[in-house]
Symmetry: C2
Subunit: 198 residues, 2 copies
């Protein structure tokens, strides 16, 4: 029974991902998702109290994959760790494919709805804190310049990743893997050198 | 009659901006916009063939303001010009307030609809080309490192700006003016120094 229930949950998540990607978060109804997953509404609500809860489960699954990748990619010092993360970007881009419009739509909704905002700000703030701690570590070990706010550097790293994902959504033809690696390398380079006055 | 017509157009644009910001691009109907602007549907369609055309007019007005700002901020060399652009970011953020969700929504639509995509990719590509040319100029004058692809650096600049705008949308409490300036300074710093192998 346990395995069967887990399987049902996975079917619902996979069907929801496809529906959200094809028609959008708002247009995809719980009924549609149930039909696509081949489950009853009762089974759906047994696993997820709402469509929003289902979305957050998808988001958290994706973030958990990222977290595991980040932990596995830790190196001897922070610049090497950041370069290793950058090498993960193609896989992140590939995994985001199809989910990206869904995240955007949810983000939009979060900007208008306090309850959704509260639910979605937590994972986002987690990355902000993760990269702030990483930059602080680099500053402590002397590999990153000390004259920048670690939290600003973290927002730059997260901002660049988010901005490149968005650009990739609008213009999928460009070589985003290479662009992402070069962009992050420029940012890292800027974090390793003392400020230059022009 | 000419001035009156211009005034009607402005009323429609202002009403549309408010409606798009409050209920979203998709939910705002032409009828709503006409009511809010106090104009007839006939007057609306005299000025704009469609809601999409209206949106593109709003987008182009905003981009024209940016362009004028960028031209006025040109300095003796490219790093100084980029720093001057960075000082414009608070004003860009302020002007984007209320428009941002609308742009996101349109962006989402563009990712699903070929016709909308064609209409919205042009201004976006314009900034990509603008910053590519600026980075090439910096490389030619020797103020920016020559070992990066100018087009990648341009995507990094545009990506960072877009990513920070998005983060500001999700978390308006943070000090985005300072963050934006520090982030761009890090990126610029990374463009001014030769690559370091770690």
């Amino acid at each position: 029974m346990q395995a069967r229930s887990e399987e049902t949950r996975t079917h619902i998540l996979e069907a929801a991902l496809r529906r959200f990607a094809s028609v959008g978060y708002n247009a995809a109804s719980v009924e549609d998702i149930c039909t696509a997953a081949g489950v009853s509404k009762g089974a759906f609500y047994h696993h997820f109290p709402s469509k929003q809860a289902l979305f957050l489960a998808l988001l958290n699954d994706w973030l958990a994959t990222l977290d595991a990748g980040f932990e596995a990619a830790r190196k001897a010092n922070v610049p090497e760790t950041l370069l290793a993360f950058t090498e993960m970007l193609p896989a992140i881009f590939a995994a985001a494919d199809g989910r990206l419009t869904m995240f955007l739509e949810f983000w939009l909704q979060a900007s208008r709805d306090e309850a959704v905002w509260q639910a979605s700000i937590a994972p986002y703030e987690r990355y902000q804190q993760f990269f702030t701690a990483l930059v602080e570590q680099g500053q402590a070990e002397g590999s990153l310049r000390a004259d920048v706010e670690a939290s600003s550097a973290a927002r730059a790293i997260v901002g660049l990743a988010v901005g490149l994902l968005l650009q990739a959504l609008l213009n999928p033809q460009a070589n985003w893997e290479r662009t992402a690696q070069e962009s992050m390398e420029i940012l890292l380079n800027g974090l390793m050198h003392k400020r230059t006055t022009t």
